[in-house]
């Protein structure tokens, strides 16, 4: 791999470093704490991701496109919407796990709209989180937020699907990595 390609691949990490380093030096106490937090965060993320990627690798090789596309693809209609909502809200775990899952589903033929419904539901409609919210915030707060989020997830997924052009779709389906 050439130097330029390496730089291109890592430029997002370098950009993050260019943001965090000056902040760390400007606020030394926070900078020192951030170094400690970095260790904890690396341990957490690296603890979760290996089995996620292995399961996605298995899913990718064993489950053929024909098993996914009819249920979540362009022609899946309301059933596809409902399934995407269910899969997203039945999940547990942080949002950064949803992205690789969504990408594999997308490559297996799920529609862009359903993928963004899935990500939206994962982010804000997770069932365990909602129960915890009701407990803490009460029914008026929890139910109204959930209802508003439900409408928003559907609307935003529909709009995202509308706004993304052919080029964006091609990039999304090209597989991860080289677009960074």
């Amino acid at each position: 791999m050439g130097m330029r390609l390496v730089l291109k691949r890592w430029r997002v990490a370098l950009a993050a470093l260019a943001i965090t380093l000056p902040l760390g030096f400007a606020f030394p106490a926070a900078g020192e704490k951030a170094v400690g937090m970095l260790g904890i965060n690396i341990a957490t993320v690296m603890g979760i991701l290996p089995p996620v990627f292995i399961l996605l690798g298995l899913f990718d090789t064993w489950v053929p496109r024909e098993r996914v596309a009819p249920h979540l693809g362009e022609g899946s209609g309301l059933k596809g919407v409902a399934l995407a909502l269910f899969l997203g809200s039945a999940s547990a775990g942080p949002l950064y796990v949803a992205f690789p899952v969504a990408e594999v589903l997308l490559r297996k033929g799920a529609s862009v709209r359903n993928i963004f419904i899935f990500i939206g539901a994962w982010s804000t409609m997770r069932a365990p989180m909602f129960l915890f919210e009701l407990q803490n915030m009460g029914f008026a707060f929890g139910l109204s937020r959930y209802a508003a989020s439900f409408v928003g997830v559907l609307a935003m997924a529909w709009l995202t699907d509308r706004f993304l052009g052919e080029e964006d779709r091609r990039l999304m389906l090209a597989g991860s990595g080289d677009k960074v």
Binding site: R9, V12, A13, A15, A16, T20, L23, F27, A30, K33, A34, M37, L38, N41, I42, V45, I48, P50, P51, V52, F53, I54, L55, L56, G57, T61, P94, L95, Y96, F99, P100, A102, E103, I119, G120, S123, T124, F132, E133, M137, G138, A140, F141, S144, R145, A147, A148, S149, G152, A155, L159, T160, L164, D168, L171, M172, S176, G177, K179, V180
Partner: protein
């Protein structure tokens, strides 16, 4: 939760290896390749999350979003909610206590809504999968929609009370 993932992965690999060692090897290779592909974005996320937690500890967040009210309070809550990555089991009890001390329902709703839907720190990772255009589109819409969520929740809580 994590132990379950490891159990599922180990079980999946065992079953897969029983039926086809070749496909199992291919699965592991794919897993490794996708991991290497997201590594730069993952490191970017870890750096951003770590500095954000250090710069904005929970106590400071609580003070900032608990005291400001009105549209300025919602704006501040939306910025903090977008920039930070706080798990729900911390965010909801915090919002509950803040509301008991007089913080507005709209601010709290905007805060938890942006916290869940908008992620500045996770944006590089999201973009590595879906491209920057889709990432900015999703996060941007979710950011503005969170204010609407704030008004809906404010209305519901006001009527309920």
């Amino acid at each position: 939760m994590t132990w379950f993932l490891y159990l599922a992965a180990a079980g999946g690999l065992a079953i897969s290896a029983f039926f086809s060692p070749g496909k199992t090897k291919m699965s592991l290779l794919k897993a490794w390749k996708s991991f290497i592909n997201v590594l730069p974005a993952l490191i970017a996320m870890l750096l951003l999350v770590s500095i954000m937690i250090a710069l904005l500890p929970e106590r400071l967040i609580a003070r900032l979003i608990g005291s400001e009210s009105g549209i300025w309070g919602q704006f501040l809550a939306s910025l903090i909610g977008s920039a930070t990555l706080i798990p729900a089991f911390v965010a909801f009890p915090m919002a509950k206590v803040l509301m008991q001390h007089g913080a507005g329902a709209a601010q709290m709703a905007v805060f938890v809504s942006t916290l869940m839907m908008v992620g500045v720190a996770t944006a590089p990772l999201e973009a590595s999968f879906f491209g920057w255009r889709a990432t900015i589109l999703r996060n941007g819409m979710a950011y503005f929609y969170s204010f609407l969520v704030g008004y809906v929740v404010f209305g519901a809580v006001t009527i309920w009370a």
